[in-house]
């Protein structure tokens, strides 16, 4: 198929083009990490352009989230509102960078030590939580929820 030939060729482009974009992709994460006001401003903007109701519903839903680890290790997954989600992947951040997105829940193995769970990505329509991050022992683990926000 022609488009496959094109895709394969794009996969072999010069490293300099990729390196340039790699830097941007890292910087983008740094923006999220170092400029929480930007996240807040984005949320305000989203609200302003007409999905206020959806977002409010989202917040209400998020506040009610019940998150617990499914086993003794983070790899075994988490329960969110009783539903099991398996580990997506460890999220790549540069050393010394710290994620500071919105905490939407706390997660614990034993009820004594808690770890932050962050909102990572909303669905485009603002009615779904696509991904959350769990901060565990210095690393960030991503879980793909694709979970509708509760009414």
């Amino acid at each position: 198929m022609n488009v496959d030939v094109l895709v394969d060729a794009i996969g072999q482009v010069d490293d300099e083009f990729l390196g340039d974009v790699d830097d941007l992709r890292k910087e983008k994460r740094a923006v999220v990490i170092y400029r929480p006001w930007l996240v807040a401003a984005s949320i305000v903007l989203i609200m302003a352009i007409g999905i206020v109701a959806g977002l409010i519903k989202g917040d209400l839903g998020l506040n009610k989230m019940d998150i617990t680890f499914a086993g003794d290790t983070v790899e075994q997954g988490i329960y969110v509102d009783g539903e099991l989600y398996s580990l997506g992947y460890r999220v790549y951040f540069d050393a010394l960078q710290e994620y500071s997105g919105k905490v939407i829940g706390r997660v614990s193995f034993d009820g004594s030590v808690y770890y932050d769970a962050f909102l990572y990505e909303y669905g485009a329509d603002g009615k779904q939580i696509d991904k959350i991050l769990v901060a565990y022992e210095g690393d960030y683990y991503l879980f793909v929820l694709n979970k509708s926000i509760q009414e």
Partner: protein
Amino acid sequence: MTDEFIVNLYWNRDEDAIKRTEEKYDGYLNKVSFNILADLEDCRECVNDTYLATWNSIPPHRPNNLLTYLGKIVRQISIDVFRKKNAQKRYASEYASSLEELGELFSSNDNLETIAGGKELIDSINRFLNGVSKEKRRLFVGRYFYFDSIKEVAGYCGVSETKAKSTLFRVRQQLKEFLREEGFGV
């Protein structure tokens, strides 16, 4: 830990190389694979295959940029899995969306393969990317190499999603015209 150090581990056939690579780049590799497959289990397998392929290819290779070297491997392995399994699984991934966008460039009569070999096409795309603005190049590579979503690409390129979409549309048209001028049958 520097990439050079990790590459030296591979050259010394030290199995710690894979562990170090995983520690540093596992998230990055999973992200690229997930963009293509949108399936966590398949994605995990592709990343593991990437570690094996890297182990088998260094040496003889000595990549100057380990990140992009790994990125190219995981991209191709994941695309191969997509092509093999898509008929059964119907992956709803960013790659699938990108394919539709790129597919709009070509009619069923176009035949890139018969016009020139793969190397000529790669060289042409490199020339094309050298000739467009930095912003266009970044959007194109972000979307069609890494298969990041329009939202993500727009985010790290510092433009709105609407602008990213319209710019990508124009770049695709430019690429089609460029390839036609270069003698490819599009």
